[in-house]
Symmetry: C2
Subunit: 177 residues, 2 copies
Amino acid sequence: MADQSNGRSPRAQQIVETARALLEEEGADALTMRRLADRLGIKAPSLYKHFPDKNAVETALISVLFEEMAEALEAAEARASSDPLAELFVAYRTYALAHPHLYRLSTERPLPREALPEGLEERTAMPLVRACGGSEHLSRAVWAFAHGMVALEIHGRFPPDADLDKAWRTGLTALAA
Amino acid sequence: MADQSNGRSPRAQQIVETARALLEEEGADALTMRRLADRLGIKAPSLYKHFPDKNAVETALISVLFEEMAEALEAAEARASSDPLAELFVAYRTYALAHPHLYRLSTERPLPREALPEGLEERTAMPLVRACGGSEHLSRAVWAFAHGMVALEIHGRFPPDADLDKAWRTGLTALAA
DNA sequence: AGACGTAGCTAACAACGTTAGCCGCGCACT
DNA sequence: AGTGCGCGGCTAACGTTGTTAGCTACGTCT
């Protein structure tokens, strides 16, 4: 359980937590400065005492996802099964589908690299790279597959009756050198 | 070159074309009912004589992408090289990266299936399915890989110095059974 | 001629992100 | 103890967004 405060004041942390709840419960359209302020019992302009703009709040939420995703993947890695990549896929898919709005927020825009905690992006990526025996190209292909599956699944792009477990397994056996 | 009118009036077609130009030239934020009307020399409310809401315009744009993507993939298929899947990947990637805003619009939301022309979704998917020898599971995995690569590439998620050609090739050789 | 549908218009509303400017409380320092 | 200041609220407002209501001019068909 890593520290997610990231140098933010307690009030700012509380705002991020509330924003996260609002996003996850009611979706991206509901994540509004006014609605967020409502939940906190304050008025919208007061939020700007803690964050320069809405984007900064969203970036904080992206950090949260990266942090938790890193933890989920590291935990899967630590389980050290006979098929580490399979374990990672399950963890990735499970986490993403459990937090679809957060996943979309973190994924459907250019990554604000400078605003993210130092090294967090790499930390999140490392379990996958290790499971690929350190091959950069393979790990990127694997990552793309996992992200593609999750993205298509979240947006309901597969036929409603598609057996996605089988699709995951097919990708896994193909990509596991 | 298929008919994209789809039962729409000439004026409505013109609106869709203009919306497409606006989106591709200036991005999703610029695709506004007022800006769209400006380009057409009319006022925003007049657009509602042709489309019930903004969503309907965007759905029409999604149809355009599906149509063109289907054509691109069918053309790649017709080239009948020794490695049909490789040909499809190049076509998919090329088209998507040539129209990133349109691709994002079509991809980053639940698919409005009922509002799409009958059979268009399936038609777009078929070249990939055929290249996978008819295997549903494999074609879904392949599709997820291609979409994931494009999505991550469009959003600048890969390291700036990443050799993405190699990643595509790695995925290709792994997935080409 | 008269009726009607088409396609434009203006005015307006609610909600959004954001800014400016005010105020009150509590802590720190002299 | 008094004083100053900054933190964190507030109201009012601006510009922009999607969208609706209601008016009007024009063309076509009876």
